[in-house]
């Protein structure tokens, strides 16, 4: 038998049918292929200001000897500090190699063959992906006017529903449920299923009515909240994020977590990030200015847009988004096409410095010609 036939027999059907995600190539490769002299990555919602001064200092003074030894397997000091900041216990936190890894922890902990998870059709894809390649059904409720639609999600619940993922604010639409809306949803779901509130972009939201999931964990035993150091804290390259829930829930999830997946440098930098106030303020200020600038410019170009919370916006183009991607790449501007988020014809742009946003507007003007 050829290796191909053997593999065919070994692979479960749901893995065979799954298409692996192909990440973009390194900058140098892309610049060579597209023939551009520099590249602005506006595709992954990173912080254009990078990490805070405190984090940079911690990274510079990281003791190289530590590289040879295993890190704290459960991010001990980081969890201590998070507990202190949020008035919780250390065991209410579980740290992972990015929020992406904790998504997998939660699904592995609660779901078995035959179970399903519920999320929205047009949201961050990883919940759906992990469910699908684990052989679980991912049920998708359509958004309503760019917002998560609680009734459509509730309608999808059945006996086999284990987890409901709510992305708040939603990537890519920037919409969010306020406290009362979220509480009403928790009430309707009841205590028998896990509700995950993905707050990857929480630190960007200034609206008073935004629900602080970490505080709400005290009210709902079945609530699990995700946060990450990749977005506001500018540590995407170090891969570190965490979840917070009540202690019993976290203890259950911990069983499926891979220890030592979070490296020491990431733990040190994350810990230092938590000490900075300026960084959050400066980032929010930049977001405000750049969004204001973009709104004006997009209106001038007669382009529809969706600007909400978070460090990204969506723009509707009168053309194929994947063609627009390649045209913008030739000008050194890398955006995220939204076909894969089921928003064909839209692109998502991560907010960056004003001069880069100016280049983006020039790029858009060029492709509209």
């Amino acid at each position: 038998m050829s290796p191909f036939w053997r593999l065919e027999r070994l692979l479960p059907e749901y893995v065979k049918n799954f298409e692996a995600y192909i990440p973009s190539r390194p900058d140098a490769e892309l610049m060579k292929l597209f023939g551009c002299a520099r590249l602005h990555r506006l595709n992954n919602n990173e912080n254009p200001l990078g990490p805070s001064e405190e984090a940079k200092k911690a990274i510079h003074s990281f003791d190289l000897k530590k590289v040879a030894t295993y890190p704290s397997g459960d991010s001990f000091y980081l969890r201590n500090r998070l507990a202190q900041l949020f008035h919780k216990t250390r065991d209410q936190f579980l740290v992972g190699n990015g929020a992406n890894e904790v998504i997998a922890f939660v699904i592995k902990a609660f779901c078995e063959q035959g179970d399903n998870i519920i999320t929205a059709d047009k949201t961050f894809a990883v919940y759906e992906w992990v469910a699908k390649f684990s052989g679980l059904e991912a049920r998708m409720a359509p958004l309503n006017n760019f917002e998560f639609d609680e009734q459509r999600m509730l309608d999808l619940i059945d006996k086999k529903t284990k987890i409901i993922f709510v992305c708040n604010p939603n990537n890519p639409t920037g919409t969010f449920w306020n406290v009362s809306r979220f509480k009403a949803f928790m009430q309707s779901v009841g205590p028998d299923r896990i509700v995950v509130l993905d707050e990857a972009y929480a630190e960007f939201v200034e609206d008073e009515s935004y629900p602080d999931g970490i505080r709400l964990v005290e009210e709902y035993d079945n609530l699990v909240v995700f946060r990450t150091f990749s977005k506001m804290y500018g540590l995407a390259g170090l891969r570190i994020g965490y979840l917070c829930a009540n202690e019993q829930t976290v203890n259950a999830i911990r069983k499926t977590c891979v220890v030592y997946s979070v490296n020491g440098l990431a733990q040190t930098a994350a810990l230092a990030s938590l000490e900075s106030n300026d960084h959050v303020r400066q980032t929010r200020e930049l977001m405000k200015q750049a969004k204001y600038f973009l709104k004006e410019q997009l209106e001038e170009l007669s382009l529809d847009y969706v600007i909400g919370e978070g460090n990204f916006i969506m723009v509707k183009l009168p053309m194929s988004d994947t063609l627009a991607y390649r045209m913008l790449m030739k000008r050194g501007l890398m955006v995220r096409t939204m076909s894969g988020f089921r928003f064909p014809g839209y692109i998502r742009v991560s907010i960056s410095h004003l001069d880069v946003m100016g280049e983006l507007v020039d790029g858009l003007r060029f492709i509209l010609k």
Partner: protein, 439 residues
Amino acid sequence: MPKVESGKVELVANSDLSFLRVATSYVESASLAFGLGETETLSLTIAVEEIFVQLCKIMLPTDTIRINVFGSGFEVVLEFIFSSHDLDLRSFNMVCVPDDSGDFECNDETGMIIASRMVDSFSLESSESHLKLKLVKEKYYPEIEHLSVVTPAPSGALDIREAGVDELKELTRMASVNYTQAAVPESFKFPGKVVDMASVGYLKTAVAKDNSGVLAGGLVWKSESDKLVTFRGPYVAPECRGTDIASRLVDYMLEHVARTNALGVMSTWPSSDLPTQMFENLGSQFFFEDGRQQEVNAYFRLLNEDDGNVVTVHPCMVDFLREKYLDLFLARHIDTFSDSGETRAAHSVLSAFILRMSNRIILRPVIYGRDAVENIKAHVNFLMADGLTNIFFQMDLGFADNGRFAPALIHNSFQPRIVVPMAGKSDMVIFQYIPGGDH
């Protein structure tokens, strides 16, 4: 949607003529069980007999042949799978190219040719170690003459959703009376078949309806391969022309194919209502029939971000590709190979995917050999003589051996027409045979 007969049966037999009856009666009972009529079953049985006999001639009696029969409601698919080890693969060309050595006998009509005439589609696929002959026979469906009837005009808000049985039949009628023949699939003449295709998930559908259930438009699509989705339409009720309904139908399809394995969506026969600004124009192909020709643009869009690639091609392809890639803003580094006199197989093998009903042949390279020019010429002569006038050649730039056919194709009046990004292992160049040369 009603349930239709579907399933799979398998037979493994030695390639020994004493098992011929076993093979034919097995295929006969399977195809009847999967709902084919007696006439269609008889055609399929004749095809099996021809192929089995031909395989017995070139294989050892100890070799085995796997015969799979799949029923999918509207058609029966028959596969012969066998090891290609030690076989003279020349036998799998549709036509025979005589050579001087005299060690290969050329008959006028190979069993494969006879078999191909008995079925609706016929193709040869090769993997590293196996060959697969695939024959498809469709169920009989009555042809419906679609009549123009007076229907109320759709009004108010429109909802887009998957078509139910009656909605799908209504769509075949609405499209057939309002659009040119070329813009509507052949299958729309057989609404029963379209319904069966949809009920087994082979065909996906979208219809736009108003609150009282009046049809405003529709669109159908299917997976052409792992990576490519093709669609027909969008069809819009005359009262709704010029509204955003066509774009909404296209968006509905795109949202459904996003996050699947598909990398691209294409229509080589779009309707006049296609919102072309949402697609990329890949260039045109011709359709030749009854001495007339029609030129149609192929519209395409990728579903993902193409981060560029390196392709290695024959020097004669460089200008064509450079221009296409520039037009499509595709980042491609073009490398070339040339023939430096290295030893090559003497004989080439082509697979012919024959779609008799729609008068279309797609030639695909299996093995490159020194006789490529003669082999292509022999295929063209044979197919044209058989009344098949639309001959295409698919070249996957992901396989160097594919690319070697380029000069032989050009020599035989084939023109590279379009490049479909990432439709194979890499980009797919579609050549078309242009009778009489320049067009």
